[in-house]
Structures are given as structure tokens and as C-alpha cells.
């Protein structure tokens, strides 16, 4: 009786959890969740858990989100928690930072991070530096999130990757989820963190489904900020990446495996603070390193990794110079053939790995 009334009362997504507890001899259902739904779930759970959390941005409420990431949230939480703003990035980012300083926990959505350039002074000077400048008095518990990097055919002003720009700044934490599990765990950690966190999502990943392990289905599922994950074990070469290119690295690794080359693929998950320990331990094991990112090469994420390798214990374990695979050093062109050659493809990763291994 209790089980039946529980089934009736609770929302659908908790039913599978309920079933697991009642009928523990059944293997948990393999749940497929898209990255979009994972972020939605993460925000929903945090909005429910803490009434100080709220979401603001363009089209997040009544339109359900420009990319439908906040679908259903306005209907559930109303005007006071899910707020549509005018097209005024500098203005609403400022309002969000002020709210965070006063004790609320805002999630400030940029429709894409390209638009965050309009508000970058608020992100850096008002959010990132304040705890330091105040001598530890004024924390700014804010999340800036939105899609980052290249999409498909959106041309130069809408395709920039901001991982290096934000990763450059002390005071900010910067995370870059790849799959659904990353997306949910990192957004929840970001919201619970008392510091400004930039969450760099990826528009092309929003609709991609991934298997959601049982622990990710919990309302307290968190992925620690500052910890990378080894997605694939390997012995011959370390391949480090973040966001969508992680998938390309795994594809490259699958192809190379058939040729007897075993790649260790590391999903950074966090850009800042970077998990150098995991990367160094891997390089000390494999003796080779390739970094892969969507952003431009100069002063990029890969450049930082290479510099730090040289400064640390792993340098002496390198059998060949480290190599970076990146976006092409041009503003993103529109024509398909040019765009395809401006982002790192699987073939570029394979080529770089083979060159590094001298095969």
C-alpha cells in the first residue's frame, strides 16, 4: 500500500529509484540522459534544495531557454526564481553579482559565452577579484553558465572558446563538462561553491545522450571541481582534453587501438584549478603527451599544460616534445569546408599522436 501511494505521489524520475529499493534483485535500469536534461536536472535539484538559488538570463523563463536547457523551470518555480532579462549582459551580470554579494546564489546564464564579453568586467572585476580585494570579507557565490566554443555555421562572432580567457584569472573557477554525468555533477558543485564559477557548456553536446550511472541519479551527486577523470586507460600516450573534443579523442583512441596503440584519454572536467597531478602521473607512465582543445592555440589551455609539465616532475619522463591540437588560428569562417578545417578533427588528433610516437 505504501509502495503504491508512493508511486502515485512521486514524480516519474524517482520511480526508478523506488523500484530499485523495493526490488533489489533487479539490475538498475541503464538510463540514457542528454546533456541538456542533465543540466536541467542539476539546476532543478539545486533550486529545490536551496531557496536562495535563482536563475536569470535572456529567454530562460517563458521561452524555456534559448536552447531549452531551462525547460519547465519557470513553470515550476515562477517569476521570483526564474527571471527573464532584457538584452543587457553588462546590466544583468552586474545585478547577479550584486545579488551574490548580498547573500543570494544566482545562476547567470549567457546565451552564449560570446555575449559574456559584453559583461566581462562584471565577471572579472566584480566577481572574480572581490574576495581577494576585500581581504577575505566578501565572497561572491555566483555561477556564470552557457554554451561556449564552436557550434555549426554560426561564424566568427558566435564561435569563440573562452576557456583560456577565463582560465587565466585567479579568483575564478572554470569548469568544462563533456558528458551528461559531468554536466550534472559539475553544475551542482558550481552552484554549491561559494566562489564565482564559470561553467562552459557546449551547444553541440546538449542533445547528445549518455548513459547515466546509478550514482548520478542521486540528488546529492556532485563532481568535485578541480579533479580530472581518466576516461580511458592506456600505456603509450596521454591525451588530455576538455568538452566536446574529449569525444573525438576517444574516437581517435578506438581507431589507434586497432593498430596496437593504447591511448590514455583524460577528461579535464575543470580548467581552473587544473588537475596537474592526474596529468603528470599519466605522463610519467606513458612518456608522451598530446593536448586537444577547440580554442585558439596561442596562450591556450594546451599551452598552459605544456608549460606546467616542463616545470614539474613529469618533464624528465617525456620521450618526445608535447604537442597541442587546437582550433585553427583564425576567426571562425562560415563556409562549411573552411569551418570543418578550423576545428580539431579526429584525423588531426590521430596524426598528432602518431607524429609524437614517431610512427
Amino acid at each position: 500500500m505504501a509502495a503504491v501511494s508512493g508511486l502515485v505521489r512521486r514524480p516519474l524520475r524517482e520511480v526508478s529509484g523506488l523500484l530499485k529499493r523495493r526490488f533489489h534483485w533487479t539490475a538498475p535500469t541503464a538510463l540514457q540522459v542528454t546533456v541538456r536534461d542533465a543540466i536541467n536536472q542539476g539546476m532543478d535539484e539545486e533550486l529545490e534544495r536551496d531557496e536562495k538559488v535563482f536563475l536569470l538570463g535572456e529567454e530562460v523563463a517563458q521561452y524555456d531557454g534559448a536552447y531549452k536547457v531551462s525547460r519547465g523551470l519557470w513553470k515550476k518555480y515562477g517569476d521570483k526564481r526564474i527571471i527573464d532579462t532584457p538584452i543587457s549582459e553588462m546590466g544583468f551580470a552586474g545585478i547577479a553579482v550584486g545579488a551574490a554579494m548580498a547573500g543570494l546564489r544566482p545562476i547567470c546564464e549567457f546565451m552564449t559565452f560570446n555575449f559574456s564579453m559584453q559583461a566581462i568586467d562584471q565577471v572579472i572585476n566584480s566577481a572574480a577579484k572581490t574576495y581577494y580585494m576585500s581581504g577575505g570579507l566578501q565572497p561572491v557565490p555566483i555561477v556564470f553558465r552557457g554554451p561556449n566554443g564552436a557550434s555549426a555555421g554560426v561564424a566568427a562572432q558566435h564561435s569563440q572558446c573562452f576557456a583560456a580567457w577565463y582560465g587565466h584569472c585567479p579568483g575564478l573557477k572554470v569548469v568544462s563538462p563533456w558528458n551528461s554525468e559531468d554536466a550534472k555533477g559539475l553544475i551542482k558543485s558550481a552552484i554549491r561553491d561559494n566562489n564565482p564559477v564559470v561553467v562552459l557548456e557546449n551547444e553541440l553536446m546538449y542533445g547528445v545522450p549518455f548513459e547515466f550511472p546509478p550514482e548520478a541519479q542521486s540528488k546529492d551527486f556532485l563532481i568535485p571541481i578541480g579533479k580530472a577523470k581518466i576516461e580511458r586507460q592506456g600505456t603509450h600516450i596521454t591525451v588530455v582534453s576538455h568538452s566536446r573534443p574529449v569525444g573525438h579523442c576517444l574516437e581517435a583512441a578506438a581507431v589507434l587501438s586497432k593498430e596496437g596503440v593504447e591511448c590514455e584519454v583524460i577528461n579535464m572536467r575543470t580548467i581552473r584549478p587544473m588537475d596537474m597531478e592526474t596529468i603528470e602521473a599519466s605522463v610519467m607512465k606513458t612518456n608522451h603527451l598530446v593536448t586537444v582543445e577547440g580554442g585558439w592555440p596561442q596562450f591556450g589551455v594546451g599551452a598552459e599544460i605544456c608549460a606546467r609539465i616542463m616545470e614539474g616532475p613529469a618533464f624528465n619522463f617525456l620521450d618526445a616534445p608535447a604537442v597541442r591540437v587546437t582550433g585553427a588560428d583564425v576567426p571562425m569562417p562560415y563556409a562549411k569546408i573552411l569551418e570543418d578545417n578550423s576545428i580539431p578533427q579526429v584525423k588531426d588528433i590521430i596524426f598528432a599522436i602518431k607524429k609524437t610516437l614517431n610512427i
Binding site: 517563458q62 583564425v330 569546408i337 607524429k355
Partner: protein
């Protein structure tokens, strides 16, 4: 064409039932706001239909005088004239241009759905009187810059339909050689097409400096009632955009009437050229398509509203009716123009889908201007492109 009978009081707009009472659900307030918008649109529609229709006097077979809507003024003693002379040649030109923009946008819609156009595509069908009227009021040597809903202005500023459509399909014959796409098209004295817009702060700064230094700048707001999916009422503390220049004078203009836009633009341009400083123009207009091709455009407004504007306020229809009724042109002549425009668009589209893509070697070109050539890094250190200015 429907004519309101002479001496009629303004017909009452059809108001859907207004939701009253305690707001139980956020959806109710949405319906209430939609009701307000529809009534606003219809009221403007009805007023204009009643006022304008009958006052066309034919002067000769070559031109006619028309009464146009009086502009609301901000910080101005007098505004643009309320009558204007339209010559047959001008009328045919504006008709052809507006029809070309309309058909070009509809062709872009088609090409987008056929996946020949990728990424973002913001269409301006419904807003033709704005770009055509604007061009009619300025000189080719004046400078123009706009946001992403730019295809109409690309054409009126002198780019051919062929070069615009071919840029949209990302081929080498495009006006930006395929590298810019929908939002990044340029030509002489036209600075795009821009994808990033800052609607409040940066604008206020521009107003301040323009007024301070008396810059000859006309700030134009094409008010199509919606900022993406958010209605003006939900995004703006004041929707009297023509007053938002504060200390800058402004005009509220009927943006569906090409003659009204032309006269207002001439007035604004003269104001600036005489050294008085900047001026603001709000063009009240409407877009038939959603914000972009990925927005159906009906979740925040009703199909009824769109249909109402199409049937009562279409800018091409307004000009057509005027020309035919004042015998500046015959229905057959205008149909003939329609046929010619159709052919021009079809030919341009055919070229746009058959022109080859840019050469891969051009990926690195045009990073810097007037520079010696240098090497550009590709996706890995072994892929190199040459950059030529």
C-alpha cells in the same frame, strides 16, 4: 482592398477576452499580455486604415500627392511633412526594391529548410519599408551600420541578391567570399551585419558622446515589438523608444509605410547635416518570421496577430494600393515587376547553390590588412596555411 467608409469613427478593435482576477498560474499573465499586444496592434491598424486611405490626389500621370502619418515628436518643435509627392519612377523603384527584399527573404527561408544555409538566419520580411524608405531618404555616401537582421539593408546598400544569397550558402561568390555568412556582410559605406548587440549600456554611452560632440548620427530603432521571444513590454521600462535618447530629439515613425519612412529619414538626415547633432528615429514595424529560423515565432505571439498585420498593414500592399488607386501604375505593370523579381531571385538562388565553396587555401587569408604574408597554424603544428592580406 478594403476602404473604411468616409466619416467613420475609428472602428472598434476586436479585443479578445481580457483575463481578470487573481493570477493562479504564470500562463494567465502571459495570455493577458498577449491580449494587450493584440489590442495594441489592432488599434494602430484600425486607426491607420481609417485615416490614410482616401487622401491621395493625382497631380498628373507622373506623380501623386499622398498624406502620411504624422510622427510623434520628442524635443522637436516640428516634424517631417504630412504630405509627400511620389513620382511614378520612385514608386516603381520602391515597389521593385521591397518586393525583391521580400522574395529574397522567402527564398532564404526555403534554402535554410533545404539546409543550403547553415547557422543563424534572421529574416526581415515585413520590415521592407524600413530599409527601402531609409535608403530613399539618405545618400549612397552616407554610412550605415546595423545588427544581424541585415539582409534587406545589404540589398538596399547595393549588394546584389546573387552576392547575398551566395554568401548565405557559404560559397566563394558570396560578398564576403563565404567567410562571413548571414550576419557578416559588408559593402561600401555599409558596415554590416553584426551578431553581438548591447541594447542598453553601450547605447546610452553612444547617445551621450554623440550629443556631447554634436555628431551627425541618426540612431534608428526598428521596433518590431519583440526582442527575440520577449515582448517589448516585458523587456523595457519604457516602450517609447523614440524618447529614450533623453536629451536627443526623436521621432516615432510608421515603419510599414515606405513614404513615411522616407520623409522621416530625410527630415532626420537634414537635421544632422545642419549641424544640430544626433537624432533618434523609432520605426514601428513588424516581422513575419520568428526571431531567427530556429524560432517558430508563435510561442510568444499568436498566428492571428501575424495574420492581422499581413492583411491590413503589409508594406508592399500599402504601396501597391496607393499606386494603383492613384493610377501611377496598373495592376498588370506591377505584376510584370513581380515576374521579373521572381526570375532575378530564382537565378540568384540557382547560382548560390551551384557556386563552389571557397578554396581551402583561403582559410588563412584576410587576418590582417596591408600586411606581408605569414604562416597560420591549423589544427595541429603540421597543418599550415598561408595568410595573405
Amino acid at each position: 482592398m478594403t476602404r473604411a467608409p468616409e466619416g467613420d469613427a475609428e472602428p472598434r478593435p476586436r479585443l479578445p477576452a481580457v483575463v481578470t482576477g487573481h493570477r493562479r498560474h504564470p500562463q494567465h499573465s502571459m495570455k493577458k499580455m498577449l491580449a494587450v499586444f493584440i489590442s495594441r496592434v489592432l488599434r494602430r491598424v484600425a486607426q491607420k486604415s481609417a485615416r490614410r486611405v482616401l487622401v491621395a490626389s493625382r497631380n498628373s500621370s507622373n506623380d501623386a500627392t499622398f498624406e502620411i502619418e504624422k510622427c510623434d515628436l520628442h524635443l522637436l518643435e516640428e516634424g517631417p511633412p504630412v504630405t509627400t509627392v511620389l513620382t511614378r519612377a520612385e514608386g516603381l523603384k520602391y515597389y521593385r526594391m521591397m518586393l525583391t527584399v521580400r522574395r529574397m527573404e522567402l527564398k532564404a527561408d526555403q534554402l535554410y529548410k533545404q539546409k543550403f544555409i547553415r547557422g543563424f538566419c534572421h529574416l526581415c520580411d515585413g520590415q521592407e519599408a524600413c530599409c527601402v524608405g531609409l535608403e530613399a531618404g539618405i545618400n549612397p555616401s552616407d554610412h550605415l551600420i546595423t545588427s544581424y537582421r541585415a539582409h534587406g539593408m545589404c540589398y538596399t546598400r547595393g549588394l546584389s541578391v546573387r552576392s547575398i544569397l551566395t554568401e548565405l550558402t557559404g560559397r566563394r561568390g558570396g560578398c564576403a567570399k563565404g567567410k562571413g555568412g548571414s550576419m557578416h556582410m559588408y559593402t561600401k559605406n555599409f558596415y554590416g551585419g553584426n551578431g553581438i548587440v548591447g541594447a542598453q549600456g553601450p547605447l546610452a554611452e553612444a547617445f551621450n558622446m554623440a550629443a556631447l560632440w554634436k555628431l551627425p548620427c541618426v540612431f534608428i530603432c526598428e521596433n518590431n515589438l519583440y526582442a527575440m521571444g520577449t515582448s517589448a513590454e516585458r523587456a523595457a521600462a519604457s516602450t517609447d523608444y523614440y524618447k529614450r535618447g533623453n536629451f536627443i530629439p526623436g521621432l516615432k515613425v510608421d515603419g510599414m509605410d515606405v513614404l513615411c519612412v522616407r520623409e522621416a529619414t530625410k527630415f532626420a538626415a537634414d537635421y544632422c547635416r545642419s549641424g544640430k547633432g544626433p537624432i533618434l528615429m523609432e520605426l514601428q514595424t513588424y516581422r513575419y518570421h520568428g526571431h531567427s529560423m530556429s524560432d517558430p515565432g508563435v510561442s510568444y505571439r499568436t498566428r492571428d496577430e501575424i495574420q492581422e498585420v499581413r492583411s491590413k498593414r503589409d508594406p508592399i500592399m500599402i504601396l501597391q494600393d496607393r499606386m494603383v488607386n492613384s493610377k501611377l501604375a496598373t495592376v498588370e505593370e506591377l505584376k510584370e515587376i513581380g515576374t521579373e523579381v521572381k526570375k532575378e531571385i530564382d537565378d540568384a538562388a540557382q547560382f548560390a547553390i551551384s557556386d563552389p565553396e571557397p578554396r581551402l587555401e583561403e582559410l588563412g587569408h584576410h587576418i590582417y590588412s596591408s600586411d606581408s604574408s605569414f604562416e597560420v597554424r591549423g589544427a595541429n603544428p603540421w597543418i599550415k596555411f598561408k595568410s595573405v592580406s
